[in-house]
């Protein structure tokens, strides 16, 4: 089956005032099939959100796609003219943002905002749109949906607003949904509800999801595949359970080890040891070396790492790729 979204060797740069282009995303490739979820994981500043914005063609000014290809359901997104792009966004591909507080228009009722999508893309009349909006609000489990349809965003809690965002994003049954940290701003019990909702709706609509997150728990629950980004480069990619159970890249291993995992029942006794840390931080834009980007923070760094360029993403038979010269010795 052809993937819904395929990103091939995507390069995004920041055009500085002196004419130099600073690399932001380098040689990024991944794809996601119908009904599947890929998670993009990494610290802030690693290019997760930039990838999402590049796919939606919403990159801020001065950021340019310097090379590469983004194919949505067989259509070249980067070559699409503006009118075509407008009919793609919100219709074939849509996005949920991190902040449900700022992503909704405060001046319109949530019902109007969802209906707008249906009327614009589906050409529905006022009455049909309102009917479908109500069905959508029920689908995202908003209690008393018939009354809530006339509510303004400020009358709703964060969790409710994020549900409205999901209803809006899924209104036209898009092929692709990009969820950029959809639960970061929400309470933990609400987070779990939203993840459940997303995976249930995905089962019904067969939408492909690109999930951007730093929460490895969410990855193991929702994602089929995972791509780990570091400093704008993909350094490990594979099946989610493979990467989580047997991470290969020292960075991925570090990410796993530095999160305090909940221990319950019999495991709960005993004092916790110090957490493993990854020393220092992600290099800022423009200070990335041609050698392995993780080199300055890597405890396994060796002569070969210093003398060579960023290692290629090497795949094994199972499709688990890693960009590290020494992963076999380290793992």
């Amino acid at each position: 089956m052809a993937p819904v979204l395929s990103v091939e060797s995507l390069n995004v740069g920041l055009r500085a005032t002196n004419g130099v282009t600073i690399p932001v995303l380098e040689n990024l490739s991944f794809s996601v099939e119908q009904g599947k979820t890929i998670a993009l994981v990494g610290e802030s500043g690693c290019g997760k959100s930039m990838t999402a914005l590049a796919i939606m063609r919403l990159l801020p000014e001065a950021f340019v796609v310097s090379s590469g290809q983004i194919m949505l359901d067989g259509e070249d997104v980067l070559a699409a003219p503006m009118p075509r792009l407008r009919s793609l966004r919100g219709n074939r591909m849509s996005m949920i943002f991190q902040e449900p507080m700022t992503a909704l228009n405060p001046l319109y009722t949530v019902g109007d905002q969802i209906a707008e999508v249906l009327r614009l893309h589906r050409g529905l009349g006022r009455k049909d749109a309102a009917e479908q909006t109500l069905a959508l609000l029920k689908a995202v489990q908003i209690p008393a949906a018939a009354e809530r349809i006339n509510a303004y965003p400020h009358q709703m809690s964060g969790g409710m607003r994020q549900r409205v965002m999901i209803a809006m994003a899924l209104a036209c049954k898009p092929k692709l949904l990009i969820a950029d940290e959809p639960t970061t701003a929400l309470d933990v019990t609400v987070q779990a509800q939203i993840f459940d909702l997303l995976s249930r709706l995905q089962d019904q609509t067969e939408t492909a999801i690109v999930l951007i997150t730093h929460d490895l728990g969410a990855v193991s629950e929702l994602a089929d595949d995972v791509a780990v980004l570091y400093a704008g480069r993909c350094i490990e990619r594979g099946r989610a359970h493979e990467v989580i159970e047997r991470p290969r890249h020292p960075y991925t291993r570090g990410l796993m080890a530095c999160v305090p995992h909940l221990r319950l029942g019999g495991e709960a006794s005993g004092a916790p040891a110090d957490l493993d840390e990854i020393p220092r931080m992600v290099p800022p834009l423009g200070e990335r070396d041609a050698a392995c980007a993780f080199l300055p923070r890597c405890v396994f760094a060796d002569e070969i790492c210093r003398s060579q360029l960023q290692p290629p993403l090497q795949a094994d038979d199972g499709g688990h790729c890693v960009s590290c010269w020494r992963w076999k010795e380290v793992a």
Partner: protein, 350 residues
């Protein structure tokens, strides 16, 4: 003087450093209307606990549960409606003016957002020095030396003193905030979601730093977080708050071996590692909907609206926080009945 303090490791003692009794913080909201009682946000509604010196007391709960307000009331950063905050030998809740100002050096706070809690126009050295100047600690030449040694203690180079906050990353700024909190050599530091805004790798660095400082200086922490994994890692005693009340409080091992309150279970279900146990927990305990408004809460258990085990009595009578085995305290009418029903998850998690 700083060095010999670092050399001797201070162990947790049995001395009670802070004892909070029946703390209440209400905020009036809306307009005052004649012949009608003023509406109030019951931010903190009768909270009590005590903290031993050198230990970490964790408060966990969702937004609006009153965890930050509790800490801020203890530090007298918000007005206390009623209650007692016994810190060492003084009731802080009753102090005022100069006496309060003098006591303040013994308790400090580190906030969540290291971007807005540092004055962007002042150099880091001055920011760390400020509490020393204000509280008149040490003489002038001694203070520069202290700033240098504090920077070293939180893992920043001495040159950092001459830089401005915007020249640092989030993690480094949080280190500056910690150095600033440490400057007057406090006994108690409140960490209000101090690592929540940081990336996981940086979060681990800061948690390890806080742990090390606790070992070296014998600090006592009140650690506020919504992340149960972090709470388990960092805290000795855990209190779960819901709408201004503590619903469960227990030592770490007791709490995570088996939470007792349905709301605690719900938090655990949301944070449990993926697998069959998590699925079973979520199925049984995960609450639906959002926390209700703390404005004029109804009588009865605050959690009744979302509790999967609710019965009529829960909606009418507020359950008291009662001691049970293992040093735990739980506020739930149905704890024994729920225990009896709880065969599935007990087998899974034991």
């Amino acid at each position: 003087m700083m060095s010999d303090r670092c050399a001797s490791r201070v162990e947790a003692s049995s001395e009670v450093l802070l004892d909070v009794g029946d703390l209440v913080v209400h905020f009036p909201v809306g307009r005052k209307r004649p012949f009608r009682p003023q509406s109030k946000v019951h931010a903190v509604d009768g909270v009590g606990f005590s903290i031993r010196r050198g230990t970490t007391f964790g408060i966990v709960g969702e937004s609006g549960s009153g965890k930050s307000t509790t800490a801020q009331a203890i530090l007298r950063l918000v007005p206390v409606t009623s209650g007692r905050v016994q810190f060492r030998n003084e009731n802080i809740a009753a102090l005022g003016g100069e006496a309060l100002r003098r006591t303040r050096r013994h308790f400090q706070i580190v906030f969540q957002d290291p971007f807005s809690s540092l004055d962007p126009r002042r150099r880091v050295g001055d920011l760390i020095r400020e509490p020393l100047d204000l509280l008149d600690i040490g003489d002038r030449s001694d203070r520069d030396e202290r700033v240098r040694s504090l920077l070293g203690e939180v893992g920043l180079p001495p040159q950092a003193a001459g830089l401005f906050p915007h020249q640092f990353s989030g993690g480094q700024r949080q280190r500056v905030c910690i150095a600033r909190a440490l400057a007057p050599e406090p006994d108690l530091i409140v960490c209000d979601e101090a690592v929540s805004a940081l990336d996981v790798a940086i979060q681990a660095q800061i948690l390890n730093l806080l742990k090390k400082l606790q070992r070296d200086r014998g600090l006592t922490y009140i650690f506020i977080s919504h992340d149960l994994g972090v709470i388990q890692h960092f805290c000795d005693e855990i209190a779960v708050m819901y709408l201004g009340k503590i619903v469960e409080q227990a030592p770490r091992a007791t709490f995570f071996a088996r939470p007792r309150h349905p709301y605690s279970w719900s938090l655990v279900a949301a944070a449990a590692p993926p697998g069959p146990v998590r699925d079973a927990l979520k199925q049984r305990y995960l609450v639906k909907g959002d926390p209700p408004s703390p404005v004029d809460p109804p009588p009865g258990c605050r959690f009744a609206q979302r509790c999967p085990f609710v019965v009529d009595r829960c909606r009418e009578v507020l359950p008291a926080l009662e001691s049970i085995d293992g040093g735990a305290r739980v506020a739930c009418h149905r704890i024994n009945e729920i225990e009896a029903m709880d065969l599935v998850t007990r087998a899974d998690t034991a």
